[in-house]
């Protein structure tokens, strides 16, 4: 069998394994699941007791592609909710301790009941 084909088959098999792995959890990275779920969320963040505005929050976590509903102060996007929570956690834990925020995310997956998730530095 040509070497290129072997590499390709291994790449396809690795994806299959990864697909199975992601189905066991709540994230859907690199696993071909467009429109897996839609999520409404509102993020409240404070740094040193000072609240961040929604614009600052959008810039801080960089979730491009989220629709912003100004009156509801909420974001809507078509990715797994876990991706939003990961964006917050990963961004915060890479900042110096004095710049980290206390974050609270109120979210609803597929218009189901509201859940709250918090990040504390």
């Amino acid at each position: 069998m040509p070497r290129a084909r072997i590499v390709g088959v291994i790449a396809l098999a690795a994806q299959l394994l990864w697909l199975a792995h992601e189905q066991l959890g709540s994230s859907r990275y690199f696993c071909w699941s467009p429109l897996h779920e839609h999520v409404w969320y509102r993020v409240e963040a404070q740094v040193g007791g000072k609240p961040l505005s929604d614009d600052q929050i959008a810039a801080r976590y960089g979730r491009r592609g989220a629709f912003y509903h100004r009156s509801a102060r909420g974001f809507w996007e078509l990715n797994a909710a876990q991706h939003v929570l990961d964006s917050v956690t990963w961004r915060e834990r890479t900042l110096p301790p004095e710049q980290r925020a206390t974050v609270s995310v109120l979210y609803r997956i597929n218009d189901r009941g509201a859940r709250t998730w918090t990040y504390t530095p």
Partner: protein, 264 residues
């Protein structure tokens, strides 16, 4: 390395040539379409200077890297479109997309990752078969993910999705500015909300179509092309969004089911 030989491999007239020593004509066409679409849809500048790589252990700013990243993508696109080193160009562009995807979690998107893997498989050659299998895997995985979701099976997802879409405007308004919703979106939302059966049937139709397309790529049939165009066309009509490069890339990849016999 003989730089003259490399440079002479590039020529504008090659943009219209599909003959290749190791790839069938339609695999070359697919690669060229993806490269041009990557440029035309502005994907070359879709990255940030503040990177938060997987798995989120560290972050870094690289504002000066932007010109280099753009230049590298332009060279890769040029190599695919206007040179005889099509596979090398595919490998370059795929590698750049993979690195950019891995370097910034907030910007992760299925549509860019799709392009990376199809280009990667085209770079490996094998008469374009690996690229076809890759596309089949994408559609099959999308269908299985939906089948495993209770909200998809019951039609609840589509009811909520179309209702939200009708309330917020087309997905094209995802720059944050509300727009007037598309009539097709609100009409569909109304039908699905008033009838659970219609929502369930619509969900099953989506899943069945994705499975049929996957099968059509595994065992190539030309019927895939109209089904792909119809499926993604309806998605565009209902959502008003091309989902980044996804709409174009999926249609471009459908040429892979055409004659895959290598040149003799």
């Amino acid at each position: 390395m003989d730089l003259y030989a490399v440079a002479s491999g590039y020529a504008p007239r090659r943009a219209f040539e599909l003959e290749h020593a190791e790839l069938p004509r339609f695999a070359v066409l697919c690669a060229k379409l993806l490269a041009v679409l990557w440029l035309a849809t502005g994907q070359v500048v879709y990255f940030r200077s503040a990177f938060v790589p997987f798995p989120g252990a560290f972050a870094f700013d690289a504002p000066r890297a932007a010109p280099l990243i753009v230049l590298a993508q332009l060279v890769a696109v040029l190599t695919i479109v206007c040179s005889r080193f099509v596979r090398t160009g595919c490998a370059m562009l795929a590698a750049i997309i993979v690195v950019l995807a891995a370097l910034d979690q907030p910007l992760f998107s299925n549509n860019r990752w799709f392009c990376a893997l199809v280009l990667g498989m085209l770079a490996l050659g094998d008469d374009g078969r690996l690229a076809r299998f890759q596309v089949a895997l994408v559609y099959a995985a999308a269908a299985v993910d939906k089948l495993l979701s209770a909200d998809w099976r019951s039609g609840w997802f589509l009811q909520g999705f179309t209702t939200n879409l009708c309330g917020t405007g087309a997905l094209g308004s995802f720059d944050g500015a509300p727009r007037t919703p598309l009539p097709a979106t609100c009409w569909l939302a109304q039908q699905l909300v008033t009838s659970n059966l219609a929502a369930q049937l619509c969900s099953l139709l989506v899943i069945a179509t994705e499975l049929a397309i996957a099968a059509g790529y595994l065992k190539p049939t030309r019927l895939v092309i109209p089904i792909v165009i119809g499926f993604h066309g309806v998605l565009l009509l209902v959502t008003g969004s091309t989902f980044g490069i996804f709409f174009y890339a999926c249609i471009a990849c459908s040429v892979l089911v055409l004659d895959q016999r290598p040149r003799t």
